[in-house]
Symmetry: C2
Subunit: 333 residues, 2 copies
Amino acid sequence: MSNPAVATPVVDCLQYSNWNEEIFRQFAAAPVHAVHVTIAYHESFREMVLNLEEWNRWFERFSDLIVPGRTGDDVRQAAADGRTAIFFGFQNPSPIEDDVGLVEICHTLGIRFMQLTYNNQSLLASGCYEDNDTGVTRFGRQAIAEMNRVGLVVDMSHSGERSTLEAIEISERPIAITHANPAWWHPALRNKSDDVLRALSASGGMLGFSLYPHHLADSGDCTLESFSQMVAEAAERYGVAHLGIGSDLCQDQPDSVVTWMRNGRWTKVTDYGEGSASNPGFPPQPDWFADSTGLANIAQGLADAGFSADEVDGLMGGNWLRFFDESFGPRGS
Amino acid sequence: MSNPAVATPVVDCLQYSNWNEEIFRQFAAAPVHAVHVTIAYHESFREMVLNLEEWNRWFERFSDLIVPGRTGDDVRQAAADGRTAIFFGFQNPSPIEDDVGLVEICHTLGIRFMQLTYNNQSLLASGCYEDNDTGVTRFGRQAIAEMNRVGLVVDMSHSGERSTLEAIEISERPIAITHANPAWWHPALRNKSDDVLRALSASGGMLGFSLYPHHLADSGDCTLESFSQMVAEAAERYGVAHLGIGSDLCQDQPDSVVTWMRNGRWTKVTDYGEGSASNPGFPPQPDWFADSTGLANIAQGLADAGFSADEVDGLMGGNWLRFFDESFGPRGS
């Protein structure tokens, strides 16, 4: 399939691949003009900074392919230059430790998304794998207020139902679920209830559809048609303007990485997360989305499902770009 | 004395006061439109970030008085708004630990000056109180190259003679001695030789004249006339364009702070630095420079010493502003 004409930049609002030149060249080939990349799961502040340092070396070495992304305009400039703007995010708040002052420090360092939890209870809220959901904690309320002030987006992709609904309510700016799908299409702890998705979109928030096999109906055998029909149904329920892509692509990663994501340093007993003892590693991707060049297939699939060209542009990047413009600086900036 | 008409912003390129609202209001009254403030002596990276967090709280609380300074244009904007742009610097490289990647991270966080040493040997070079001066170390050469790349200025105010001459030679961009005076005016380990000041200015570097009493002829009894005549002599020797003010003002600090500056965590035996066992604390300032409002006295003193209005403008800020424009970003930016 070829990429239909896309009038606006293409955005993938979550990837966590084993970064290398080949992957950056796939960004250009796709093309994808902005990618939100995870730079921390369980890292301390100083460990997260080591990951930033590694990105700085890639920016220096591959300056013809990737540039640091801080604002929506950086996406437009990257698209004009044929490059990809990289936006940083945390899947867990561990890098802010117990210090609300680190929210602004992390924003200054370029962080633009932070999940309040990753599966487990955090200092801020409850993860979707906990039996008991505390909702947003005392520190969580302070962190959300500070994130709102500086322009660091609250991401609830791995959070529990109550915590997510409370975060939507407490946050004075729209939040995001950067990578998940509706539970009505594929019931999974990580996919989101209709209640959550209605509250999210009603408050101006964004959902990024995941291509991670555990989030897909029929896993790696999920068809492009089924995925695209799900997007069409979601657009009817929540409004197409609140939807985009957050593929959760974990390309070329060894299985040790999914073990780190699930287990961090919090357990001596293996936690299999969305996998199982018999299926512990990364599941195989659908053949129509093996890497970033598969974004062109999705654009075609959405067109085939009946979306207009403008709607496809919005779903493939325009909606995220509007959200970036409104979310990444102080309010009213 | 009243402030003579100043056509360009006023810059003080080193202060380390016990920051509070009164001091920020003195900035406005002076007026001084840019101040380079020390945020680390012996801090680790994480401890330095705690100091940044404290500044972030002051920027939020006193937003009518102070703003973060990153570029020369930030100084012009602050001057237009009647505010003061705050530029961060380290007096010692301890916050980059043993990690050259932290140079760019610190630049992203707003650091614009870093001394390679503070009195003692560091990982990068030798301080002016060591008996043996190694010159610039292997790590020091790598750090200078990285500082040159990102636009973080090498400051050799507290470094030894050989290390300073080598830093001037190795650095591909002009360096600074933000706060010191010529040793020919007042011999002190911290003041600089004619050789150093000639090499500094010949390479396009800048000297900021210190008002710290231990650096002044006759200490706190130094007259404004003596100071101004010294500046006139330095302008003849090195060229007026390479000179500015770096007052080293340590206002309202308890003596425990000078003890921390001199001793950090490196000694159990008290080091008195430029003081002595009988004079261990902060020495009294000259009455014509007790706080930032004394900058107006200096401008008048320089005019009385025969400098033209344009030269006074340059000495009081224009020369630093040109250096800021040329130094704080990637080369050619």
